[in-house]
Symmetry: none
Subunit: 404 residues, 2 copies
């Protein structure tokens, strides 16, 4: 079963509004077993809507539209669909009654325009709008089904979930199971090469990769849960500790969870990342259980004052050096006695790089009961990218320390 | 001049990735005088891309594509466009050289697949990618122009702005001047109402508003530079100190600039924001001149140890209180003697709120030679939103302190 999502509205084409409806509906439709083959955004223009609906009826089994259900002159979605499919429009008394009740409940005056919102194709099933005046529509016509929802996400999301979903959920080819495996530290093309070499093609399962900034995600899609589990186990075995986890996991969630399980405290001394690592950790609810403190020692003076880094080392090796990274983490540990201490110092750019110490050079030190290790990296990208990579590699070092 | 935006990728149709590219490109193209008539998202399928490009060439003057420029087997955008337009593909030596250099610089291994990234239609102008291996393309073919950009926003945004824009900006109806005025602390509908009341309609200039997360941007578009300057001055007068600045300014850039001009140092004591403010500041090149340090005192112990907050105050008023915010900033000042010291403490949620102290309650204290001020806020939203708002309001306090 193929589906297309048609979002209608000039505010989308002007860039004024971000289209989040297509993503929401795609997730829902895919999980119901539909293959979403197209997203399309067009303006509130009758000729255009009629033509587009006509084309889509030849390509897909289900069309979901959003937008253009309001009372103003450019809200013409329903009448245009009716014209395109050659359906008679009729006045729905109960829809009108509902609109009138909403206006009287909020003591506001109904406009003449609102009457147009009660006209739908004769065979429509009306979808109730709990959060606005615009009702939606489900229409089966010859070989195509159409669902029309209002544009505002706070109206269309509940309408879809509550009223549209039950009408379409048995149209698809059975329920599809999706599992994402999140990989860190291997490039997408490498991941694909490895998958192509190691996994046999099986028509019961679809294996695809995609990028979530700085992660590679391997998505398994199948109707068969046991095939998913079998292939998932195999992939985890192949990629070993490069696997961060499943579905919506990321490094910071994983690290907070691992620290909580061990009842460990974490402290950070950040220079080039400037508080990014601690901010990522603090964004995870419950992180207060595990984060002791983070000291952003951006100036040399702060490194000396806060972490007892020696001025000799700063002069002899520079702030971005293995020695200073090590002294930072030792100073942090003396001060906080946290179970895991991490320091990070690097050249974020765009200036400040030299031949010996190029932009992107970063040292990350980690200290635990197992001792102190300093790792050296060369990150590529703009200032924000190198800093983000540095933060993720630091989180990854913490993760590896905790699972090994 | 009509334009269409074609975003290519299964990750968009599956709903895994939110399509932000279409919005970004729409804003840019509209401001250059193009009429964006269609957004279209399709899968990485050769037949489909060929057919779609063919249809769009009849409908628009400019097609902008994103996605499908990577090295893997489903990255087929360029070759499919070439087939659709019947253009010969050739190997671009300089593109290959650039890819090789990127791999060798970062000591990673180039895959065989990467070679495919150096093939483009013969007449292409190559668009450089500063942040990844996938080059982009600008192609004029008969009556249509095609711009192909990579999918990841951190690669396609700079590529569009730096390399594609200059090639297409004179395609529209004459050179267009754009000026953005960035407003903080007023809602979009308020801004619109004020503009409607205060500014007379003038057909020489287009005045539109859009949202950049947490800012409202007033975009002036005209062919006449003096009209832009006249209206811009008027708007600055109307909105006063709500105006952060122009074009790509934001609060952190503005604050770094203001501090540099005064040769001031800044120190921060962050609790709920967890390092977000310092990370935002550190993301601005040259911030090392002005940021002394930031101490993320997430635990009560850290507040006492690092900032000399009294345990009595923590017990009597709680960590999120005016008293503790004040003690934090005083402690920070004693320690650092920075010209501007700021502390922040709040309840980010989702748990931890009470009737007296709901989620979102935040205190921000600022200390300078003028004295100490503590401000109280109630921010609304999820954990990431309340923290981001808190960070921006703190930056705004610093800005107002420096300009008043």
């Amino acid at each position: 079963m193929k589906a297309a999502i048609l979002t209608i509205g000039n505010e989308l084409l002007s860039g004024k509004t971000l289209n989040t409806n297509s993503q929401f509906l795609s997730i829902q439709l895919n999980s119901l077993g539909f293959e979403v083959v197209k997203h399309l955004t067009i303006e509130d223009d009758e000729t255009n809507i009629i033509k587009t609906i006509g084309e889509l009826t030849d390509e897909v089994d289900l069309i979901v539209t959003t937008g253009g259900l309001g009372p103003t002159y450019d809200d013409i979605t329903i009448s245009s669909i009716a014209k395109s499919l050659n359906c008679e429009m009729i006045f729905f008394e109960n829809v009108m009654k509902d609109i009138k009740e909403k206006f009287s409940k909020y003591n506001s005056k109904m406009g003449q325009n609102n009457i147009s919102q009660a006209y739908f194709p004769k065979k429509s099933i009306i979808l109730k709008n709990r959060y606005g005046t615009a009702a939606g529509m489900f229409l089966e016509h010859e070989k195509v089904s159409v669902v029309s929802l209002p544009g505002p996400p706070n109206e269309n999301t509940p309408m879809f979930n509550e009223f549209a979903m039950p009408l379409i959920q048995n149209m698809g080819n059975g329920k599809i199971i999706i599992k994402d495996i999140v990989i860190f530290g291997v490039g997408e093309s490498n991941v694909e090469e490895i998958l192509n070499e190691e996994i046999e093609i099986d028509k019961e399962i679809r294996i695809a990769t995609y990028i979530k900034p700085r992660y590679v995600v391997i998505r398994l899609t199948s109707k068969d849960g046991s095939t998913i589990e079998k292939i998932s186990k195999l992939i985890v075995k192949i990629f070993g500790n490069k696997v961060v986890g499943f579905d919506d996991i990321n490094l910071e969630k994983n690290v907070v969870e691992l620290l909580k399980n061990k009842h460990f405290k974490l402290s950070l001394a950040e220079s080039c990342t400037g508080g990014m690592i601690s901010s990522m950790i603090v964004n995870i609810p419950g992180s207060s259980e595990i984060l002791e403190r983070s000291i952003v020692t951006y100036s040399n003076r702060a490194k000396v004052d806060e972490l007892n880094v020696s001025t000799q080392s700063l002069e002899a090796y520079g702030a971005v050096s293995e020695t200073v990274a090590r002294e930072m983490v030792e100073g942090l540990y003396s001060k906080t006695k946290s179970d895991i201490c991490v320091s990070i110092t690097g050249i974020a750019g765009p200036d400040g790089g030299t031949k010996d110490k190029p932009v992107g050079l970063t040292y990350i030190a980690i200290k635990s009961s197992k001792g102190t290790v300093v790792e050296k990296y060369n990150f590529f990208g703009d200032r924000n990218t190198t800093r983000h990579k540095a933060a993720l590699y630091a989180l990854n070092l913490i993760r590896l320390e905790l699972i090994e």
